[in-house]
Amino acid sequence: QRSIPVAKQKYVPSSGSYPKGFIVGAAHAGVKPSNTEYDDVALIITRKPCHTAAVFTTNRFKAAPVTYSMKFLKNNESHIRGVVINSGCANAVTGDVGMKHAKEMAAEASKCFGDELPSTLVMSTGVIGQTLPIEKIVPAIAEAARALGSDHQHWMKTAQAICTTDTFPKLVSRSFRLPSDPETEYRIAGVTKGAGMIHPNMA
């Protein structure tokens, strides 16, 4: 894993409480030629397809994974299996071939879970204007699907794999209860990435 600057280690959790029914994992594809060792493909999957909501950039040059996921979510919002993510290349301003690659990422992720039809959202981040090395990403998705788990290490690896110029993985989790059902402990976990080109206005 990437080394984390001492000044930033205070932000990285050493444990967490992770929601039931979610399994996550990562694998190395080498999306950016200069990346010869770090994971750069991640999967966040729920064992049972579930309700999902999302917000997307309002930038007019929406990247292919954004356009794909917006359309897909509109028609399948209650039946989403998860999210497949690559770092290292944004698949943005890549025309029709970019959309084709986003679809291939979704199809490969869904195939790993025996879902005939695509069932996952797609996210990409990295350099704009380059096409995805899809021939590297597809096998890495299958590898990530074989490496899924639900403990802190799996969530940490997933948070690491989506980083670009970030200097540390960003992972937060909580357990909580709801007023109408105090006996049940619920959990929530989130991963995020971002260090540059950051002024979101998502809707």
Binding site: T46, T57, P200
Partner: protein
């Protein structure tokens, strides 16, 4: 680019899930800036699989105009998690050495509070002054005065009702810089002490002394701008 995936094992009704995400996003990821640049790829997804919910427990849903009960509690947890994640992004801003929290209060509506906060957060001159530990309040006023909220009948920014202070993140007394448009005799030693820290707050009141209307506050987070930002981005080739 900002990407986020939040997962929970609560059972939530679909429309409610969208509403909760939209509300929590407004006060978290849509209230941060590192460099004022909106990406082509920003995406945040919220998945709720209900895996921890007992069979007989109903899905969380919004039953009334105002959020109450489980929906309100879940929004509280979701907002906390998303604000923590958003704060981590700003702390890790490229070349950042300071986390800057901008709090803008006004009686003229959240839109103008947010527009002023966002404008300060995007000011290269405010961000470089903070990197240089310079309490340059003139640049903050100049940024506020340039907000691009369409001019309504009521002026959004009234100079003699504008008050600006710096505050340390430890909650000790703020340092007034400008009060109702009139510059203070700034205690330079105190200013340097506040700006030495890696967390600083900029407090702005756009309606100081204006009695009409309810006061709202927008909290917006950004970081300073350093030489390293240029080094990182001068060679991030397409």
């Amino acid at each position: 680019t900002l990407l986020g995936v939040i997962c929970t094992d609560v059972k939530v009704e679909q429309k409610t899930l969208k509403k909760l995400l939209s509300l929590a996003n407004a006060g978290s990821f849509n209230s941060i800036s590192v460099d004022g640049e909106m990406s082509t790829n920003d995406t945040v997804a919220l998945l709720a699989n209900g895996a921890a919910a007992p069979e007989d427990v109903a899905a969380v849903n919004i039953t009334s105009k105002t959020l109450d009960g489980d929906a309100k509690a879940l929004l509280g947890v979701l907002s906390e998690v998303m604000q923590d994640l958003a704060r981590l992004v700003v702390c890790d801003g490229e070349g950042a050495t300071k986390l800057i929290t901008i709090r803008v209060r006004t009686t003229r509506g959240m839109e103008s509070a947010k527009s002023a906060a966002s404008r300060i957060a995007r000011s290269l001159l405010v961000k470089t002054a903070l990197y240089g530990k310079d309490a340059n309040w003139g640049r903050i006023l100049s940024a506020i005065g340039a907000i691009d909220v369409p001019m309504q009948e009521v002026e959004e920014v009234v100079p003699h009702q504008t008050t600006v202070s710096f505050a340390p993140a430890d909650g000790s007394a703020p340092l007034p810089l400008v009060t109702r448009g009139t510059p203070e005799q700034v205690d330079e030693a105190r200013a340097s002490e506040i700006l030495e820290a890696d967390k600083v707050e900029i407090l702005v009141d756009l309606a100081d002394g204006n009695v009409k209307g309810d006061t709202v506050e927008c909290v917006f987070r950004t970081c300073d701008l350093s030489h390293e930002y240029i080094s990182i981005n001068a060679d991030y080739r397409s």
